[in-house]
């Protein structure tokens, strides 16, 4: 096979797929984000308890500070909600293939559900407002 059969990143990004292609990309990014987030947690706990036995540990502190920062909190909120809601859309469409006809409407419905659930808490986190 010629090496030109390989699809390059720029070819990938310049293909004008519709909204569902974007949804799939975001789904992947959110999924990797969640894995990294949980990974950092585990790593921080390992350094804190496994290495220094529960006393202050610089690596654990740095990691905790990073994943507890506001942008990270908002990112993880996005990642978990998006991954979950997008996953539900796909599960529903896969279980009832007849519904694929309405896949465009499903995208809009998904945004309508996702945006308020994400934006309101994200706003509160960004402004540093605590409830309760």
């Amino acid at each position: 096979m010629s090496k030109l059969a390989r699809v390059t990143l720029s070819q990938f990004l310049t293909y004008r797929g519709g909204q569902p292609m974007l949804a799939w990309l975001l789904h992947r990014i959110a999924g990797i984000g969640i894995v990294l987030f949980v990974g950092m947690h585990v790593l921080a706990a390992f350094f804190l308890y496994g290495v220094t036995g529960g006393t202050a540990n610089t690596v654990a502190n740095a990691l905790t500070e990073f994943y507890e920062s506001r942008p990270m909190q908002i990112f993880i909120l996005f990642a978990v909600l998006y991954h979950g809601i997008n996953g539900l859309r796909i599960v529903v469409l896969d279980m009832w293939p007849g519904l694929h006809r309405f896949h465009r409407e499903a995208m809009w419905l998904q945004w309508a559900v996702f945006l308020p659930i994400f934006l309101i808490p994200a706003f509160l986190i960004a402004l540093g407002i605590k409830i309760g």
Partner: protein, 230 residues
Amino acid sequence: MKVKVKVRRFNPEKDHRPYWGEYQLEAQPTDRVLDLLVYIKGYIDGTLTFRRSCAHGICGSDAMVINGRNRLACKELVKDVGRTIVIEPLRGLPVIKDLAVDMEPFFRKYRSILPFLINDEPPPYTERLQSPEARERFDDTTKCILCAACTTSCPSFWANDSYLGPAAIVQAHRFIFDDRDRGAQARLAILAEADGVWRCRTIYNCVDACPREIDITRAIGEVKKLLLVE
């Protein structure tokens, strides 16, 4: 109206890397992109290579990327694509020259799902009759013209060229849901493999790319569901 056509060109015998050929020409809004290519080849640069046969959207030879989407050049009108038209070969298949890609990897997958009637029962004295309802069951997937627009628009296929791809699954669907056929188990076994239907990530690029407006993701979904309940 004046249009600018940019074509991704590559001749493996003399070019090190692909380059953009640019052509200015006069076109009617009702011209098809294929007409522009024919004009360029006839009057501007005879070395331009592309495939076409029927020129009426039924043979499936001239699928290509037109302004970033997989389309048949013989079905796209200039008025719908604008004054600047960017044309590239299909992604994910080896380029033979300019817009002509090697379709063999694509047809190999097509053949792998056994795209023919399998039925060892002795044929009746007349035809194998089928009710209109039973025929309707797989009507949508009989429309496929094997142009490869769907398969080469699929990010799963770009990432992994051993994935069967939407076209092969559509063809399998056409026989699996045909009540005269008895080969469903053999096909489902192939589709259940790692490079079968489960590589579909429900991205719908194929549905948008299909010049025959087949509801491809639905067909794939029906095969997935059949595998699940079997």
